[in-house]
């Protein structure tokens, strides 16, 4: 993955999938050990894998870290805290937010085919 330097590169990748069926991976996490290491820490996260949607608008905004929102058929998907991206060999747009220790905190991935 590369740091998002030119958000237009990401915007172009998002545009490629407008108005077609895509599969979404969306995740936020503090890690399963956050409350173990710090008992005052309130740990929360959410995860969805292979939600099939179509979006009519997809947009990247903000300045590092970035936000991405997708306006889907009946609602919305968004993620914030995005720092890195990659279009992989399967043409999937992988977006992630990593903290300063290199730990993943958020991921939003868009794929034309179902994730494994």
């Amino acid at each position: 993955m590369e740091p998002i330097k030119d958000y237009l590169q990401v915007q172009e990748a998002i545009n490629r999938y407008v108005n077609q069926d895509v599969y979404i991976h969306l995740e936020t996490t503090n890690g399963a050990y956050a409350s173990h290491h710090d008992q005052t820490f309130f740990s929360a996260g959410a995860y969805i894998r292979n939600a099939q949607v179509r979006y009519e608008i997809g947009k990247i905004t903000g300045t590092d870290p970035y936000r991405v929102g997708l306006k889907i058929n009946l609602g919305w998907i968004y993620a914030e805290g995005l720092t890195h991206f990659e279009v992989d060999e399967q043409n999937r747009l992988l977006l992630a937010g990593h903290d300063n220790k290199g730990k993943l905190a958020v991921a939003l991935e868009i794929s034309p085919t179902p994730f494994e």
Partner: protein, 223 residues
Amino acid sequence: MEKERHVLVIFPHPDDEAFGVSGTIATHVQNGTPVTYACLTLGEMGRNMGNPPFTNRENLPKIRKEELKAAAAALGIQDLRMLGYRDKTVEFEDDEKLANAMLSIINEVNPSLIITFYPGYSVHPDHDATGAAVVRAVEKLPAAARPKLHCVAFSNNCVEELGEADIVHNISAVADKKLAAIQAHRSQTEQMFGDVTEKLKNQDPQMMVWINNERFWTYKFKN
């Protein structure tokens, strides 16, 4: 360490064996005891991507699969099974089905000792769910036919509620194999490993105790 007929290790994540159990595993292997390691997931939800990132969410499981194989090889495990569950979803599986999947491995392998996590005292939901499934599976066997069940626990309240571990293995004789297993899980351990090697070189007393002693609680069945 008592000589076993066959040891079955059941954990949900590729590195779960590394810090707490790998010395015990290496010792059994050295004693000529066959060891089966059933690992439920590939740690797909691991968060360590590196800075700069060396992988991504989709490729991490491929890396961790290879690391798991390398760790098993370092310990001399000949029967490594990857069960194909998904990280952080084990507790949401059908309880009965999961227990039966564990039972079918137990029946096939016929171990004299099973090592897993102590349900309720192992912090990660997958650890607790895996331990609970193994306990349910063993409970299906008649009491006289049950293998021993040694559990790893590390929640903040484990000693308070379970008492001190009743089994402590000093594994210093195979510490090199243990370190090799820890090192094999590079994506998970490399960050902390620099620190570990430094402390080992200096024979840091706390670190030596931590590395050389593996603690288990014998599971007490209610029925």
